[in-house]
Symmetry: C2
Subunit: 436 residues, 2 copies
Amino acid sequence: MKEINIGLIGWGNIGTGVVKLLQQNEELITKKLGARLVLKKIADIDITSPRAIKINKNLLTTNAREIINDKSISIMIELMGGYEPARTFILEAITQGKHIVTANKAMLATHGNEIFRAAQKKGVDIGFEASVGGTIPIIRTLKESLIANNIKSIYGIMNGTANFILTKMTEEGKDFAAVLKEAQALGYAEADPTYDIEGIDTAHKLAITLSLAYGCKVKLENIFREGISSISQQDVVFARELGYRIKLLAIAILHDGIVEARIHPTMIPFKHLLANVNQNYNAFHLIGDASGPVFLYGQGAGMMPTASAVVSDVIDIARDLQKGVSDRVPPRSVSESIMGNINLMPMDEIETKYYFRFSAVDRPGVLSKISGILGENNISIATVIQKAQKEDSAVPVVMTTYKAKEKNVRKALKKIDKLGIVLDKTILVRIEDELI
Amino acid sequence: MKEINIGLIGWGNIGTGVVKLLQQNEELITKKLGARLVLKKIADIDITSPRAIKINKNLLTTNAREIINDKSISIMIELMGGYEPARTFILEAITQGKHIVTANKAMLATHGNEIFRAAQKKGVDIGFEASVGGTIPIIRTLKESLIANNIKSIYGIMNGTANFILTKMTEEGKDFAAVLKEAQALGYAEADPTYDIEGIDTAHKLAITLSLAYGCKVKLENIFREGISSISQQDVVFARELGYRIKLLAIAILHDGIVEARIHPTMIPFKHLLANVNQNYNAFHLIGDASGPVFLYGQGAGMMPTASAVVSDVIDIARDLQKGVSDRVPPRSVSESIMGNINLMPMDEIETKYYFRFSAVDRPGVLSKISGILGENNISIATVIQKAQKEDSAVPVVMTTYKAKEKNVRKALKKIDKLGIVLDKTILVRIEDELI
């Protein structure tokens, strides 16, 4: 039986999962593939810390180039994460004619143009199913299953940590800071949680998703991004009263030749499937012009779920190797040689519905002033909630709007926040309630 | 630019959708594929009825063999449905070296062994993503994305008509017969609805799904199947009271070397994603040993959603044609040459929880008799609901059980139904409340 040699660089949590999966389901994989996957070498700067798997010590090295320069290895799995030396190792391995499997979204979102071009030029495959949505087959679905569709919209919950925090805030009535601490204690959030809670990780994933959905290059810095740290328990409670749940959504909407792309906390109707994605799960709600809505859900991270996606890419490439072909499907949906830049809509131009929470002073005429300024800026109010005031504190006044232009909303809020009738910066949460 | 010629046999609703999609998104498809798909011939017994698309009349023929014997056509799409002549045409086309794309679940569930073997022997590809779950990428997910997993369980809503009826019964409080009539008027149910409501269509789809998930041959007649026609509005209401919704589920659970496979109306917790699949949507909840839960949702039928899946298969095969390869992925996960038969658990042996609705006579001691017989058969009662009796009618007594053996349940109900203390056959609905 044919053997296909693999090298792994990066032997952390996911790397350990990949080794474990290759061992535990070896018979199943061999039967389906009709060839044996042989893990020939594992490189990591730390090869001594104990891992929960048995491994032949001769496979271990601290020198990644023992994999990159090993002519017998056809597929290199990169699971070190970070920008460097991951980027350099991948480019070197491509030069050596190795096929690549990676879960490194930060690196692909940043250096994707360089890496994908190099891969296609050299005629090697690059699998990255694990980089977005973990175990969820979002990459394969966009590149293959929905290939004949114009993707009209994408709504995604792409970060498990942020979703875990918002779920806890919703279900347990706790405030952001308390839940974040809990998530850190459980290992669901990093000591520095910025990447997850400020939407940076989500932006990496949306950038990759956009490039596949529209076959275009995407500049990460052009994607509008707002995190969840300003969401308070009050907003969660008001959202419930209005029939919504708050999720950190990555949103892409195709207009005529231009794509609206943004990441922010979003109120969505509690009956929608996305509103029922809880804990650390991820999900994607796509609408194709032919397919209609397609919803995909699963673990967006974690050792074995991510390993499942990594190994599926390894097997996909191994099938090409068995047939002696490569570059069957362009890495980002269309050939790198004809790939243009995505045309992103400026955030000022987007139109959506809004939730505002004003911390108003308790004086006559405040509601009139606020609504007057909104009116001047073509913002129509849909609902108003004003609760009885607690002693000596500001009165929370909540308004939701009909569709309004982001530019007008910012202008109006800037004016309102300067009038001396609100005690705190006004909280804004965008509403998406026309999801099907 | 390279051209790949396609022939279509069966120009009904889906066939029209395929032609429409190839026309409407031609530019997109050509750009992604790097080749042009050319629809060279369409065969149907009716080529005169108007369709909502423009088509060159020279493409039309009433003779399928003009496609089968046309050496310039590489891919034949079969969308005629039914067993014959679809089976014969496909086998002939395979003999001519044509690759096949089909949505014909009835034919594949019945004649799959013959057809897949012939295709693999001849070295041609056969795509059938559209045969199960319509636009949902369930076939690709099982064959490729989750390939490294042992599939621990599959819970699927695979028939849109049955789901539409159950949704209406749940949301509008109407009885089965009334909703069925409405569904027929809307074109969601056939004049003879047997296939959909008795779970036959679901059985075809589960048989195909099982063969991919476990890489085994499946005999359709060995799958236990129970339809939704015995579900009444009363049961929907009791289900709600118990925290459940009723769905027609296809269920597969992997035990040690044996698979439990069954289709029946099922009570599932209303918070589960599957309980929130409404109208005519389909969904699949899979658990892989590495991936954990994966949930896929979308339109299981309909012109354009099904066309989206058909064209994705055409493009997949076209990519192989461009590279000069075929049989990259075995049609049913493992090579036909080593594929064994699935080992299915006899229905008697399965264990699950149950809902019983007894139409009890209003006499003292009835509850005691019923519970006595259940106890004798090792069936433990979890909850009992008994409502006040309406004049002169039977008292509905509802019980749910802890896990019990199907064999024991049947034995007990047979005995109870003979005692003269129930006025109607006892209604049984299985409960699955341990879904994650």
